[in-house]
Symmetry: D3
Subunit: 182 residues, 6 copies
């Protein structure tokens, strides 16, 4: 007897906030390496789940991971730390969505907190057979959301270029990313 309330009105435009996800985890022994720090692969596993839920919230569809952008792991995260992952969709392209994630780690008894990672995952919405299906557009609202929305085009060109699916002269925004910035 599954009693759910219907909560989705059909609307074609959604905001990044509509897809916001907060995920909290504790770093347990099996998540750590010899130095008792969180393994990068375990963090990516959590990021993928948080990003998938965010892309689901935007599209109200089954979603599959299409790609992950370069992630760096500059800060070690220790056993027992509390990890907070914040995810939201930045922009939609036909059937694909870019999700932005921010990770922070806290040693709460020590009163210490630090931002540790930023990541961009891309998901594709699919139907029950796994075929791509279109998703709603997104309307960024805050200044940060607008900047993420604008940058999504350049990041997409970089992904396509790295996958050799477009040529450099098809990526004018990307070129400016690398060679026109101060």
């Amino acid at each position: 007897m599954q009693v759910y309330a219907i909560f989705v009105m059909e609307k074609k435009k959604k905001t990044p906030q509509d897809s916001a996800v907060v995920m909290t985890e504790i770093v347990l022994p099996n998540d750590t390496n010899t130095l008792n720090n969180l393994m990068g692969g375990k963090l990516m596993h959590w990021l993928d789940i948080a990003a998938a839920i965010s892309a689901q919230r935007h599209s109200n569809r089954i979603v599959v991971t299409a790609s992950v952008d370069n992630i760096s792991f500059a800060e070690p995260i220790a056993l027992g730390d509390v990890i907070t992952i914040k995810a939201q969709v930045t922009r939609a392209f036909n059937s694909s969505m870019e999700v932005y994630l921010e990770v922070s780690a806290e040693n709460i008894p020590a009163g210490k907190q630090k931002k540790t990672n930023r990541a961009f995952f891309t998901f594709v919405a699919v139907d029950q057979l796994g075929n791509p299906i279109s998703v709603p557009e997104i309307t960024p609202e805050t200044a940060e959301e607008q900047e993420l929305y604008a940058g999504a085009l350049r990041r997409r060109q970089l992904r396509l270029l790295l996958a050799k699916r477009i040529k450099p002269d098809e990526a004018p925004e990307l070129k400016s990313l690398f060679f026109d910035e101060k």
Copy 2:
């Protein structure tokens, strides 16, 4: 080389919002029973972790689970559903803290959401040797927080009475809970 920013000023009073935790999980195959619904025990495992983080946030201490109040599981939660757990401390008593949790489940592709559970966990703050240590008081702000704060006293009396650590005439607020309400 662990570089954390110090973020805690010593303050004696905190608000429930200071201890707010949002945890998001997906129900995976190993979390489910023969009917493909989430097992109650797995949900309690997640609740315990979310509540522990909330109690850590309030006390900035190591915390251990002291007790769990009666929880009921009226709504089945299905494989693939997204679980959102919201936790915050309602009230502090010397070294113990009561944490209130609300659980909701979503089948996002189907556009369905439902509230599934409410729970109260009690944690004790301890030092490195496991001995109890005092925690800050709390100042409820919203109407809901004030109601949870007021009710915490009655729920504590019920816990102590069930544990046979007090006698009925030491629990006047509890008595009114059961026998004076309309």
Copy 3:
């Protein structure tokens, strides 16, 4: 080629011993908190599984967790300890069953054993569609079983009262639990 022996005669009355379950687990690193003690949530996860098997044994049905009574965690359980959980049904009510559980922990190389927890879980027997279905009555045999059987009525009234499904004057046995005992 699944070759099972049929072992159940249709009988309407069963004893608590018919539903007895013994479960043994070792506390592993991922089950523990910062103090290397078993997390309360992991113990509840094991209790739920042991109780579900006990309720299955009584009813020969698929069962789902309906509720858990207040549990307290007065004794820490250490990494490497052996946990023994004993479960059996105390009483049946239409489609629901109350299961009583006792937990003990041993540090076997140190020759130490302690009783750590008592708990009551309630399960509902359901058919393949998840609809409640009636279960056999139970006949307590030992003095302890008879006491658990008698107390089950009061505990049930407390559950219904806490869930606001009955009013205090519908719970006469419960009232005596709180206010007439020496």
Copy 4:
């Protein structure tokens, strides 16, 4: 504050029943192969834990797995089945102990039960540095325990012969096992 009761009197002789362990598990999705049957390796993992607890109970020592005798998997065990593992020590040799295990599987809602496996594990008791340390002798009581005790010598000779640590003429009991039985 770990409060354990001391329960071990120093005694040189123990019975098999002193080391009895009952372990109960449910077969979950991740334990199964493509046919939705329990993987043999997962069952051996559970057997090793049950046998280790039994050898701990006999020796009150840390124990390590020394060897496993031939195990056959003639009966498939299905997803959702309840597994019961019974273990007890059959005989002790200096620092090693042979543990006998019996496995049964139940589909409880279907009222079906079957014996699925028998196994012999050998454990060595060790001190904190991992060096072997002597264990108490055992006194079998029931007819079945006496038969297991007697057979332990032959099984030990087979193990040593297979490990090329003894020669056939050092294994007279084993020879009779193979070549003198009717």
Copy 5:
């Protein structure tokens, strides 16, 4: 949209190398006992998976574990060690296959490696209903493969004898194993 290349030509004879599997794992905290060494049961779990993949490669069928020969655990394997498991089929008998496994453990930062275990698992190829189905023959190539192929017959007789499915005089090769070798 699952796009696989077909890579199997129907051939009746295969080599042991066709079924070769290399599996690499790191020993994590939850895999270890009180001495921080790998539990024997966890290693057997990994061996079963590696052997199953090897038997799948030989037969291109679903396979189920039929039996495991005596395994000894003479060498402790420590937390953080890298485990390498090499598996390949030694010989096929109608629907069953014997798989030989070698395990080595490395403490790579310390520059240390050791061989820790040898094991023989037997698998049966089955159809979708779980019924046995014939598998290709195997042609050993190297000297070691030929020796393993020859020994497979004796090991099979020992398995059948231990399972009381044949009598000693039906196992002439086995008799020579025990009583005619120098």
Copy 6:
């Protein structure tokens, strides 16, 4: 009593083959999403472990994940598929190493195999305190290894540029990657 053979001669130059790792896994139910396909995050978790072992083999040091390059997930991998991950170091830079990984997936009973992913992970060798420490140089041998070695410089510039740690005019090889290739 840990008896390892010492196997490392101090040598300053190593080959990519010295760091080769093969890892084999089966996709189990808990690794999959609603479509019964492997979740991207789980695959990245396995890649991180395989790459860490490879970087350990090259450096004989503890290693930590520094970054992951863009990964795309064009091919779904199904429940029950066998995953093979091949990893080896392409080039070393002071204390960091780039590891190249190739993933293939097989449905063995169906006789189907496909290449599914390529990835580049970067690891840093550290001492027991987590401080970077220099690693041996590498000498590529095959044509493919030489191409991976040459490309490592451009990929490193892209990583540093994306991390805003260098400016475009410090990345001449990268510029040619994007804008001078045919």
